[in-house]
Amino acid sequence: MIFSELYSAYYNTVAAIISRIIDGEHSERELQKIVTERAFLESALTVMPSLKSEKWQLVHSDMTTPIKHIPTMPLTNLQKQWLKAISLDPRIKLFDVRLPDLDGVEPLFTKEDYFIYDKYGDGDSFEDEEYVRQFRVILNAIRNNTQIKFEMTNRSGKEMYIRCRPIRLEYSEKDDKFRVITEGWHGGSTINLAKMRGCMPYTGSKPLEESHRNILYDTVTVRLRDERNALERFMLHFAHFEKQAERIDKSNYLIKIKYSRDDETEMVIRILSFGPMIEVIGSESFRNLIIDRLKRQKSCGLQ
């Protein structure tokens, strides 16, 4: 069903090679580049040799082809069903694009078939007209590398007018929110889209401030005691980070996780959620954050 050669990197690569030959490219070296770009690391050992040796009878040894048309393939039922499923997602309205006609196609899934049970309850209002309008302004500015302007209230309640260049839209499934990664202003780089007001394209000629903020990373090292299935739970929980694990003995593990410094508080509470199965052993400052919380807990009088 889903695991089919119809979707394979090899079929796509061969389609691209044939297209280039039809367009007049007959240099083996140039065609080999397509393999490097589109297939896997070792595909160069298979794709061109199979075509050249006429094992796959699609390209002659002189790099011509009997194929007359640029290769295309209609969408499979599965692809249409998936497209139909996403056409029913409320977030589709964020995009100012008309989906192809999928009348009569059954969706692969609907919102009745799955449930994300632990996303936060204050997610963005994806169907709110103003939210959709701002999303489109930002996306358009990202596409065209142009500036936007907007107002927002900062954490201390101060009203701000900001002009910047949006670089990317970052979506968090847990928060169910979009954040806009920006550059060109002094205040910071990432802003919740829902907090922006009156976002418009900036059409003036003022240049932006020179401010490009790189993400700063830290590493936390923990010792894990594998009780109550902690190892599996922990490794899955932190699977989306760059990390390295080492077994110390039968039931103890050492794990290093690289995280963005901006997310330190979140990391602290995520590690606390594993209780005594995890001990932070580095950095000292991170360990002290845990100790501080435990000391405060101790003074809460929980019996």
Binding site: F40, E112, D122, K258
Partner: protein
């Protein structure tokens, strides 16, 4: 001995290896089944070929540990989708594929198998030194496969069956939609297949808290969604943590429960033989076979909907006709002046239950759920301000308190502090 190929016929074996390399990453060659050391080398080489840039290794006294390490915030596309694009095929498969779609280059062109075969031989294969010979039954079989996939249509005229390609669907403008939804929607690998058809790429989107492991289970999910859509039972093999060999189970799949916080995906199903509901980890399921339509599907879904307000995680009421066995969970936190964000946290992070302000500096959360142990990790995130606990499951409450004492000990916090 067959020679090595970076393509594979069966996804199941590689699925387990990818998970081991990505989720754990501390095992060396000897930790895998000794009988399959060549298999280990081949699977590792394949994964390296697909995900080269994300593969790392470290030498330990026990040997070389290979692991996949990815900060999913920095990638544009889920790299595991590449594994779904590695299906093996025969020389005949690929040759036939491109020739058939070249002959049937437009939906207006239709041909019988005999006509197709004649054109293939005369205009395509005859130009090669040793042309492959296809017979009618091979072509008919391939066309049947393509009809099942929906990419070829048939038309009967008298006794003749004509074949033509299905209408093309224009996806050229969908690049951003495909990029976004192939990362956030279930079965995103399928979106990635469509994305491969578009020329341009966008880097407008990145993803935080992005669990990419689920991609490995896309095949299972696609079968389960199909069964749910058609309201059918399935037989499936489940490898439980307590057993060494997978067990075959007949079940009615009802809903996928997906976690945005721990990367796990569960299937809630009804087991007709036991008259009970049960949750299963999708990554432990394999070999799904779709069975007959189950007439009571809608009623089971309604029953499941009723459970939602009592389900914190994935534990559901077991006995279909029995009464609810609920556990009370309650905890109180202190919220000092300037810490109003804690109340907001309680409100937005609770999945069920009630948050109640007791006074200016105290808040209480309470809920009645099927399994109070599922709430524990969340309660621990409030360590530093928990003043009171009240669980109906006293064993669990005591364990929670002992765990905190254990943490004091681990971090060397004096009794007197």
């Amino acid at each position: 001995m067959s020679s090595y190929s970076e393509l594979i016929k069966n996804f199941e074996k590689i699925r387990a290896y990818m998970r081991e390399f990505y989720v754990y990453g501390f095992k060396n060659r000897d930790d895998y089944d000794a009988k399959s050391s060549r298999s280990y080398d081949n699977e590792r080489r394949r994964i390296e070929s697909w995900l080269g840039e994300h593969m790392s290794f470290v030498r330990t006294p026990e040997g070389k540990n290979v692991f996949i390490s990815i900060d999913s915030r920095t990638i544009r596309h889920n790299p595991f989708y590449k594994a779904w694009k590695s299906k093996s095929f025969t020389d005949g498969d690929i040759t036939l594929h491109f020739i058939i779609f070249d002959i049937l280059y437009s939906p207006s062109v239709k041909m019988t198998v005999a006509e197709l075969l004649k054109r293939m031989d005369e205009e395509y294969l005859s130009g090669f030194d040793n042309p492959i010979t296809f017979d009618e039954s091979t072509i008919r079989k391939k066309l049947k496969e393509y009809c099942d996939e929906g990419i070829i249509k048939t038309e009967k005229e008298g006794r003749k069956i004509y074949y033509r390609r299905a209408e093309n669907t224009d996806v050229a403008d969908l690049n951003e939609i495909l990029h976004y939804f192939s990362e956030v929607a279930p079965c995103g690998a399928i979106g990635s297949f469509v994305l491969d058809k578009t020329q341009a790429d966008t880097d407008a989107f990145t993803f935080k808290h992005h669990y990419i492991t689920g991609a490995i289970d896309t095949g299972i999910l696609a079968y389960l969604f199909t069964a749910m859509r058609e309201k059918r039972a399935v037989t499936v093999y489940n490898l439980s943590r307590k057993a060494n060999t997978p067990k075959k189970i007949l079940m009615i799949p009802l809903r996928l429960l997906i976690s945005a916080q721990n990367g796990r995906q569960h299937l809630v199903a009804y087991l007709p033989e036991l008259n009970q509901f049960q949750s299963y980890r999708v990554d432990y399921l394999s070999n799904v076979k779709i069975e007959d339509v189950y007439p009571g599907f809608n009623e089971l879904r309604c029953e499941l909907d009723k459970m939602r307000s009592k389900t914190w995680g994935v534990s559901v009421k077991h006995n279909k006709s029995g009464t609810d066995h609920l556990e009370h969970v309650e905890f109180t936190v202190c919220v000092n002046k300037g810490e109003e964000h804690i109340i907001r946290r309680l409100e937005r992070e609770k999945r069920v239950g009630t948050v109640e302000k007791i006074d200016d500096c105290t808040c209480r959360f309470y809920a009645d759920v099927y399994d109070s142990s599922e709430v524990i990790p969340w309660i621990r995130t409030f360590i530093c301000r928990i003043t009171k606990l009240n669980f109906s499951n006293r064993t669990l409450e005591n364990q929670f308190k002992n765990d905190i004492k254990d943490m004091y000990r681990i971090y060397g916090i004096d009794e007197g502090v």
